[in-house]
């Protein structure tokens, strides 16, 4: 210390730890990705082992890519940049270490459970409930450490990257908790509290915004810090970054329903998803241009500096993926693309191009700075860039071609649109095999590039001394900003906030209310708007001062950001939960599963069947011609979790019940190619060998009753007896068909479930006689 100056040493150890974890888990995620891509071409690569089967490994791949790879990268970037932007060391070394080791424990727990079929059956939300609790605890620790650091900051202003980090922390917490609300039936199994259409909406509200607030906003914060640093010039337009932030926060959260277009989701939600998705074009491209234009005057460096090369390409992929997303949200485009490889190409343009290249650029930037040694080889880094770029282009190009080919073939009709041109689903699978092989090559190249990075990193840090950055802070730097922070009361009790909240409430009343409430809502909203305009006209400076002060006050800023994202979620979820219940459904209502069918359904979830087979016949002529009458909202109303699916590697199963005899399903699950020549479906042979565990059924039915599924009161003995009776009937049928199978095998329960799919009762009609007393 000299001249009153204080030296602040940053906690860069935690950054190094997260950076190393990024390299390791990135390799694991990509390696599993290449394996499962190869399995779609060569079914033999499933090796007949349940834990190596495609449907067990696919959740491992997605979770590893999102939470292990991008998660660790995000934490490294956030911790490095935040300390420097606020001129303060992280608040707690203990919390930092707890965060790191806790997150790694979660990843290991995920890797130890997902391949063995321990899953919740919801995409990117597969982890079982004890791991969910670990995630919440670790995320809270991360949040506490982050906000505690902000509270101790020496720089009063909050740079825009910090805004993006704040939005990430609060929004991911909200999304994760709501979508993982479950009632456990055992230590490793639970049922989600939402069912059917409600579960579908909540799942894709979460799923879409996991992309938005886990894979996008934190990486944008990283972009706004690291790109200017690497280019050695400030961001192109700080003003544009402000518009970028608020537009994304307010608009992104509404767009989730675009994952459910042309389905049984209520039309108003589908329309909301489409409209808000289209409006995302503006902020996304504004942000992309802001990032790219930051390189103004530094384009010559892009040719030689691998860091800038990766950043420039990463931001370009961000622009490409965020152009494609809204495009795919147009219902007619979605009718072609949904359930096909086009969507897979789209998400990989984002994950490999945007996240992966930003991670690589950030790693090449940090390695020399965290170990105080020049990068081992710039030439190797440049080679990584070109191999990775060619890999992505091969991957994405192949998936576009594959997706459009399959979409066109599946939707093609003849005889004036009354007959399918390709009635056999396998025709479309075999048509895209070359593209699926191209994907393996592209993914393999990208993985090779990642290995080059890992090698370069090891050679760079080997024998080097890790160093922590530090700065000298003078007392003047800690002097208050000319803009004073807000007090908590002043942040909320002021005209802009109050008029916005009350006006929003009136708008909701207008939208959702009955006749009188609707009219009151309209009048109230107009009144609020007039008052706001009047007050803004007379006292606009107060509004501007409030906003300026908000930007230097972390807590109110965080709370108001949370309010913005909560509003977008609640307006979709509350009406769906209130209105779309079993009691209100029209036309058709699902018949609850018998105990054996429920056991079979749990196996269907365990085996990950939903990852290849949808259970949602869309309101599209080709879908109806291929799979039967379109799916009604009420037909899956008791499904906890919903199983509408998001990808069709195989045909839809919504109405497969009764379509084939029991023995067909048995032989198909045992050896798919014995039934469907050329199929790439793995064998599920172990289902024929594993004994069915019925002992857990009474507990599971008890939870189903709590969730509102209308099972009558029954003793455990009655439940198990009922299941055994149905199993024996199926076993007898199998024996009669020449495939004797003991009644206590898992495959029997799965057949019972598959044969139930598509069975419903008309709403308002007298209840039909059912085979199961418990399903009455």
């Amino acid at each position: 210390m000299s001249d009153g100056k204080t030296t602040v040493e940053f906690n860069d150890r935690i950054v190094r730890q997260f950076l190393c974890a990024t390299l390791i888990w990135g390799a694991v995620a990509m390696l599993v990705g290449v394996l499962i891509a190869a399995q779609l071409n060569f079914w033999q690569l499933n090796f007949g082992k349940s834990w190596l089967t495609w449907s067990h490994l696919r959740p491992l791949h997605t979770n590893a890519a999102i939470f292990a790879f991008v998660g660790n990268m995000m934490f490294a970037g956030i911790y490095y940049s935040t300390q420097r932007l606020v001129k303060a060391r992280l608040a707690s070394d203990f919390l930092s270490q707890f965060h790191f080791w806790g997150w790694q424990a979660i990843i290991v727990a995920a890797a130890a459970t997902l391949p063995f079929g321990l899953t919740r059956g919801k995409e990117y939300a597969e982890l079982i409930w004890p791991i969910n609790l670990m995630v919440v605890v670790v995320w809270v620790v991360f949040g506490v450490n982050f906000f505690w650091t902000l509270a101790r900051r020496r720089e009063p202003s909050l740079y825009v990257a910090i805004w993006f980090y704040i939005a990430t922390i609060v929004t991911v917490a909200m999304l994760y908790i709501v979508n993982h609300l479950s009632i456990p039936t055992s230590l490793t199994h639970s049922y989600p509290v939402f069912g059917g259409v409600q579960d579908a909406l909540v799942q894709w509200w979460y799923g879409h915004n996991a992309v938005a607030f886990f894979l996008t906003t934190p990486i944008l914060g990283i972009m706004y810090y690291f790109v200017p640093k690497a280019a050695e010039r400030p961001v192109y337009s700080y003003r544009l970054s402000i518009v970028h932030f608020w537009s994304l926060v307010f608009v992104y959260i509404w767009a989730g329903p675009h994952h459910l277009l042309n389905t049984a989701l209520p039309p108003w939600l589908q329309l909301l998803g489409t409209t808000f998705s289209l409006m995302l074009w503006a902020p996304s491209w504004g942000g992309m241009l802001n990032g790219l234009l930051t390189l103004r005057g530094a384009w010559d460096k892009v040719r030689t500096d691998p860091v800038l090369k990766f950043f420039a390409a990463g931001i370009t992929f961000y622009g490409m993926a965020t152009f494609e997303g809204p495009l795919l949200s147009i219902p007619s485009v979605n009718a072609l693309a949904h359930y096909t490889d086009w969507i897979i190409g789209h998400v990989h343009a984002g994950t490999l191009g945007w996240n992966g290249f930003m991670a690589a650029g950030m790693t090449y930037y940090l390695l020399p700075r965290l170990w105080n040694r020049p990068l081992h080889s710039t030439a190797l880094a440049n080679l990584h860039f070109w191999i990775g770029t060619v890999g992505i282009l091969l991957y994405v190009g192949a998936m576009w071609t594959s997706g459009i080919t399959q979409g066109v073939m599946l939707n093609a009709t003849t005889e004036n649109g009354t007959v399918l041109a390709y009635p056999n689903f396998l025709d479309t699978v075999n048509a895209i095999r070359p593209m699926m092989l191209m994907r393996v090559i592209g993914g393999g190249l990208y993985l090779t590039g990642w290995f080059l990075l890992a090698y370069n990193a090891v050679r760079t840090v080997r024998g080097a001394q890790p160093v922590n950055g530090s700065i000298e802070v003078s007392p003047e730097a800690e002097a208050p900003d000319p803009v004073r922070p807000l007090r908590v009361a002043g942040a909320f009790f002021n005209p802009p906030v109050l008029l916005a909240l009350v006006g929003g409430g009136f708008l909701c009343a207008w939208m959702f209310g009955g006749e009188f409430v609707k009219l009151s809502g309209l009048v109230g909203a107009m009144l609020c708007f007039a008052l706001a305009m009047g007050h803004l006209e007379s006292d606009g400076k107060a509004w501007a001062a409030w906003y300026d002060r908000l930007l230097v006050t972390a807590l109110p800023f965080t709370i108001l950001t949370l309010v913005a994202v909560v509003a977008g979620g609640l307006i979709q979820i509350i009406p769906t939960v209130v209105a779309n219940q079993a009691i209100n459904v029209e036309d058709r209502r699902q018949i609850p599963y018998t105990p054996l069918e429920l056991a079979g359904r749990d196996l269907y979830v365990r085996e990950g069947c939903y990852l290849c087979h949808s259970q949602m016949i869309r309101t599209l002529v080709p879908d109806v011609l291929r799979y039967g009458d379109y799916s009604r909202l009420g037909e899956s109303i008791y499904d906890h979790p919903f199983q509408w699916g998001s990808k069709r590697n195989g045909p839809d199963l919504a109405r497969v019940g009764g379509k084939y005899p029991n023995v067909w399903h048995l032989r198909h699950l045992d050896d798919p190619r014995a039934i469907s020549a050329g199929s790439n479906m793995p064998s599920f042979r172990w289902l024929l060998d594993n004994r069915l565990d019925l002992s857990t059924l009474p507990g599971r039915i008890r939870v189903q009753r709590r969730l509102g599924v209308p099972y009558p009161e029954a003793s455990p003995a009655e439940i198990i007896g009922e299941a055994q009776g149905q199993a024996e009937a199926i076993a007898a049928d199998l024996s009669k068909a020449g495939a004797p199978t003991p009644a206590d095998r898992e495959v029997v329960a799965l057949i019972a479930y598959l044969q139930k799919l598509g069975r419903y009762e008309p709403v308002g009609a007298p209840a039909p006689a059912r085979s199961s007393r418990l399903a009455q």
């Binding site: 420097r84 700080y238 003003r239 537009s247 909301l272």
Partner: protein, 66 residues
């Protein structure tokens, strides 16, 4: 009370409301950003560079090729 959402036809109103909502955010923030004091905007944009000078490693020649 939510019957209109179940049975109603939303095309006429949902898109307009959604557009009005998003447009109000775009315009309000653009207006606020454009009116931001230039000196303040420049200062905020330079915040990533305020932590310099760091320790020697930040000035390390990391572009050296071997």
């Amino acid at each position: 009370m939510l019957q209109r959402l179940v049975t109603g036809n939303p095309q006429a109103i949902c898109t307009v409301l959604a557009f009005a909502f998003a447009a109000s955010i775009f315009f309000a923030m653009a207006w606020r950003a454009l009116r931001m004091d230039r000196a303040r905007s420049d200062r905020l944009a330079r915040l990533p560079f305020d932590s310099s000078p760091e320790t020697a490693h930040d000035q390390a020649d990391h572009s050296a090729e071997r």
